[in-house]
């Protein structure tokens, strides 16, 4: 119903023509929802460009300093990477189920799904912490007393050397480029983790609001758009995992 008709019928009636969560400048709730989804997608596209820059830098330097990148990526544990992929994909599923619950106005189901997503997200960050701590202990954090010991003398790092016995010692000028690998590793996974932390904070806010019944009134836009954000973060990890952990095994 257009505004002009609403004015003709008087201001009091205008508020009875649409659900309270529909803004006056939208014709219908569907239009409002579509417009908001469109805006969310535009934001996500800027995010894709942002992460895309990091991915491009990674691919270029991997091509230039290939032996250093292969040796450095052997420092990552495929077990932790796979576990994190599992956690994140499952959290995407629970988030999608949360959107479904909100659409069908199932309040307790929505709260449960959001809490599960929250816990899985924290689990992901927990695993990341274990991995980061190992890098700290081995002096593999670029700029902070970075050590090339594991790469100029692989036998000095028995844990990794046993898994990759064919790894040859790198010459010093190549070994120092492993620092670049770890710089990109921390930039990419760190940016991804920052997105996870922001997402988890918003999830905590949403759990409180969902318990108060905020998203089960038919107004699902917020849950839906947060879902888009969460799935986007999942997609970034879907590419980070093979590129950082898997493709340099041989």
């Amino acid at each position: 119903m257009s505004d002009s008709t609403a004015i003709a019928h008087g201001a009091a009636e205008a508020h009875h023509e649409h659900p309270p969560y529909q803004r006056h400048h939208f014709e219908t709730y569907a239009q409002q929802n579509d417009a908001t989804n469109f805006a969310m997608w535009l934001f996500l596209l800027t995010e894709i460009m942002f992460f895309g820059g990091l991915f491009t830098a990674y691919l270029i330097f991997r091509n230039w300093y290939y032996p250093a990148f292969v040796a450095a990526s052997h420092q990552l544990d495929i077990f932790w990477g796979s576990l994190n992929t599992l956690l994140l994909i499952t959290s995407s599923f629970t988030m999608a189920m949360g959107v479904w619950c909100a659409e069908l106005r199932k309040k307790s189901g929505l709260v449960l799904c959001l809490i599960l997503t929250f816990i899985l997200g924290l689990g992901f960050l927990g695993v990341k912490t274990i991995e980061y701590r190992e890098k700290w202990e081995k002096h593999h954090i670029p700029g902070l007393h970075y050590s090339v010991q594991s790469f100029v003398n692989p036998a000095s790092d028995p844990e990794v050397h046993d898994k990759y016995p064919k790894d040859q010692p790198l010459a010093m000028d190549m070994a120092r480029h492993t620092e670049l690998y770890f710089f990109l590793y921390f930039a990419m996974t760190g940016m991804h983790a920052l997105h996870m932390i922001i997402g988890i904070a918003i999830l905590a806010f949403m759990i409180a609001r969902a318990q108060a019944g905020a998203y089960t009134t038919g107004h699902v836009t917020f849950v839906e758009n947060f879902g888009l954000y969460w799935h986007f973060v999942d997609i970034v990890w879907i590419f980070l995992f093979p590129l950082l952990y898997l493709i340099s095994r041989h």
Binding site: G52, F55, N63, F93
Partner: protein, 108 residues
Amino acid sequence: MSELQDGPEQHERHHHIVSPKIYLIILLSLLVGTALTVWASFIDLGPFNPIIALAIACTKAVLVVLFFMHVKYSSKLTKLTVGAGFFTFLVLIGMTLADYFTRAWGRW
């Protein structure tokens, strides 16, 4: 008044609700994809290792975008926006990589 009453139904007519069964199928496909990509990384396929890993990752991403992110059921505007966005992204990455990867060609 009648508009208020058919508000939610009108919303549901425009707004496709994806069933949990589809979400479950996608979850299982993504888990199978993850298992496949880890398994493939243990086999020495030379230059095909990264190609297979990226092909599986792209397939997984497409599944997430189409079903978890509802693009398959979205308006044409959303489909066009997402399609144009990814296309532009691929052009930018593709052109940049084509430049850097070919700079040394013919120099040795």
